[in-house]
Symmetry: D2
Subunit: 137 residues, 4 copies
């Protein structure tokens, strides 16, 4: 088990809303992506480096619960949580709050590790697991 | 229980791919939306009419499993399945296939019925349930 | 000079609207892309093949005039016009109409031809120009 | 004439790239929107307030020149310039730079002022013009 939490912010763009006046449900995937990217940056690396080192992390699963609508110009807080040590897969949990601290949306994504050279699944790279070590129980 | 199945097609746009060379995971939400919209059209009404009659259907949940990558210019088949009679919620299941008949992605969404006048949940409108009657066991 | 016109259709998705209740202005770039892709398909090839043959066509310029709003579920007609023989650049003009035949939007894009192998501009490939020959004055 | 310049930053999301490995050309419209929104915030109001006061600002024109590709995870600088006092229209110019200071893209948008109550064009509201006064020559 492990316990790593990262918080980052995004402001809702007009183009991310729909005619209901709320954030379009598919656009939370972009916010989750921002949450993941900033979580990795906080761990001392970037997803861009991961790809440059020949490992891709496509999404295998996504689950989302929409609790309250997000609105244009809301400054959202994305809380990204890693609670399982990655194996050949990595789970990220997300909670998205608005400025009033209301939980708008929660969800998770499961990502695979894929070696670029042979397009095959591979375990999480050692150098990446080392970054997670301080957060491992 | 009920059994309604609708099939429709979308062609993957360049802007829906990402630098991995595949359809970006969040864009399947748009394809699910197309599947839902065409399923409703096949039932003899449109989601646009639903809103014009004062009922909104925001998304409450989405779950997606990504099995194989979708690629630029693929002509996808979206299979949309309704197997539960709607109450105050409605479940749509989706399967997305490419031209070779390979299942790329499956998922579901749970939608709520919301009355526009008071922004409160409401049961599925009678006139909508009537359209589903022929497919009910 | 040349004269090639292609027409294709897209239906406006909910996720392509914004809280003003209209198609978000940036999403017309996706419709232009659909127009271009179908124009090329009508010429007997696809943009996917172009890339497979080692030529990329990034966008160098886009100009758009928004005349009337597009709305959710509108079945749009995209008219794509090629009136100049491509050199190292290719110009596409677009007109987008709704079902009532009202012109919503017009614009153009200028695309470059780039050889993948050396990332350098190149002239339009001969096999592509041959496809355009029947439409050349 | 006037002279107001605002700078803000966005980080390129994975979902904003396409399979060419660059930012999809249509997504610069989102970056321009961020530039505009932050320019207005810097002037002491927000576009959200504009709408709440009954004035909408739909886009009438957009022109973009793509000079160099934007890439995933680039931290872009959006420079937004207002050099003409708004009348019933308002022009924003944009320049987008990457971290190396290379100009990737420049463009402009023309926005209309529309009164929500009657859906008719109107002049820029006085309270808005007052905010611009310090920057007017």
């Amino acid at each position: 088990m492990m316990n790593f939490i990262s918080e980052t912010h995004v402001r809702v763009r007009y183009g991310e809303t729909d005619q209901m006046g709320f954030v379009y449900y598919g656009n939370y995937a972009l916010y989750f992506e921002v949450g993941r990217a900033e979580a990795m940056r906080k761990l001392g690396m970037t997803y861009r480096e991961m790809e440059e080192k020949g490992v891709y992390m496509p999404i295998a699963q996504m689950n989302v619960k929409y609790l309250k609508p997000g609105r244009y110009d809301d400054l959202l807080t994305i809380r990204t949580i890693v609670s399982q040590v990655p194996t050949s897969r990595m789970v990220f949990d997300y909670e998205i709050y608005n400025e009033e601290g209301i939980l708008l949306c929660k969800g998770n994504t499961v990502l695979a590790f894929i070696k670029y050279s042979n397009h095959r699944p591979c375990p999480a790279p050692d150098w990446f697991l080392e970054r997670l070590l301080p957060y491992t129980n």
